[in-house]
């Protein structure tokens, strides 16, 4: 079964669209279970790559229902979250493992 899963993954990776060069890019850090900055301004109607830099020792999950993403970023590592194209508006996101402190909003404009 593992071989099968591996094959499936291999097939999927071949579809992968390589060029993300023209996508907009923003960065966000996680420090002391909080996002920094807590407001991300991104261009609307285009794809955006969010580089999440988890500077804490503990893992965090960058999650948002409105952005339709969930991504685990282990402690001391960086992760990529792809969002958009978004219609202009506010999209809240949170750290699933520290929902009382880790909250933020993406503002598409």
């Amino acid at each position: 079964m593992r071989i099968f899963a591996g094959l499936l993954l291999a097939c999927l990776s071949f579809w992968s669209v390589g060029a993300h060069a023209e996508d907009a890019s923003v960065s966000i850090a996680i420090k002391n279970n909080k996002f920094e900055p807590e407001e991300l301004h991104v261009p609307a109607r285009q794809k955006v790559v969010i580089h999440v830099d988890n500077q804490d020792a503990t893992p965090e999950e960058f999650e948002s229902s409105s952005l339709k993403v969930e991504k685990i970023v282990p402690g001391g590592t960086k992760g990529i979250v792809r969002i958009g194209p978004l219609v202009p508006g506010r999209y809240s996101f949170f750290g699933d493992f520290h929902q009382d402190s880790a909250n933020g909003v993406v503002i598409a404009e």
């Binding site: 499936l8 990776s13 685990i72």
Partner: protein, 282 residues
């Protein structure tokens, strides 16, 4: 402690429901407890491995490794559920008539519990790796680790309760309906998983079509709420589905029905040829 309990419980609901459904579906199959336990064990081990290599997995495939892995294991689960339903369509009637017949076909190599054990393993693996990472984070943070770990353990226990509720709920259904009910449940479960897999492919940037949101019912029922999560697992409820997710959902259901029809009709022909006069309802 309560916060930890809620977070762990939320993650366990899906796996718990899947285990409950699988236990109900395999009722009467010899050795099913062993297969389900094996599935859970493999899932837990897999979850720990995924958690341990979370960083490396995340960075694979241009930073989309985690999404592709999630999509891959979800699609494996969908295939296993299809296999199971097709198998049941061709053998289920014998099973209802004579459980020993199934015992024989299992020992002669046809093993539907393997498919369902994989489904259990995959469900535990997916949700479990998050729990492992989360609990690891608590231990790493150090502060009040003991009480939070207790919350985590209680959350896991509640997940087992969900599994039990799912199982006994299904077990209460009269035997003559159980086959139809579980076939329906498995089909909806598979459709929901397929839709979920599409979201991970979109998130990975692998699939770039039909990404528009079709509706937004988050105002009525949030997918992330407890009820939302239960419905999400059982029937694939989504509060903001994309066109691709709807397409995957419907396609999976159609494929499932086709597959069962083919498996069922092939079996009927064989059966009628072997035993003239025996009539099998569709």
């Amino acid at each position: 402690m309560l916060g930890t309990l809620i977070i762990v419980f939320r993650e366990v609901i899906e796996a718990g429901l899947v285990v409950g459904i699988v236990l109900a579906v395999t009722r009467g199959l010899p050795g099913r407890g062993w297969w389900v336990s094996l599935g859970i064990l493999a899932g837990v081990i897999g979850a720990s491995i995924v958690a341990a290599f979370a960083g490396a997995i995340s960075n694979a495939f241009e930073g989309s490794g985690q999404e592709l892995l999630n999509a891959g294991i979800l699609l494996v689960a969908v295939l296993m559920l299809m296999w199971h339903n097709a198998w049941m369509a061709s053998h289920g009637r014998e099973m209802a008539a004579e459980l020993k017949a199934v015992g024989r076909s299992i020992s002669t190599g046809e093993r539907p519990p393997v498919a369902l054990a994989v489904v259990v393993g995959v469900a535990v693996l997916r949700e479990g790796s998050e729990i492992v990472l989360f609990l690891y984070g608590i231990v790493a943070a150090g502060t009040s680790a003991a009480s939070m770990l207790l919350g985590g353990v209680l959350g896991l226990a509640l997940g087992a309760v969900v599994a039990a509720l799912g199982y006994f709920g299904l077990a209460a259904i009269p035997t003559r309906y159980i086959f139809r009910v579980t076939t329906g449940l498995i089909s909806l479960l598979a459709a929901g998983l397929a839709a979920q897999a599409m979201q991970f492919l979109t998130q990975a940037g692998t699939v770039d079509v039909l990404g528009d949101q079709v509706w937004d019912t988050s105002g009525i029922l949030e997918e992330n709420s407890m009820v939302g999560r239960v419905l999400h697992t059982l029937v694939g409820y989504m509060d903001r589905p994309t066109e691709l997710q709807i397409l995957a959902y419907v396609t999976t259901l159609v494929l499932m029905v086709l597959l069962m029809w083919i498996a069922g009709s092939g079996h009927r022909k064989g059966h009628e040829a072997g035993k003239p006069g025996s009539v099998q309802a569709a």
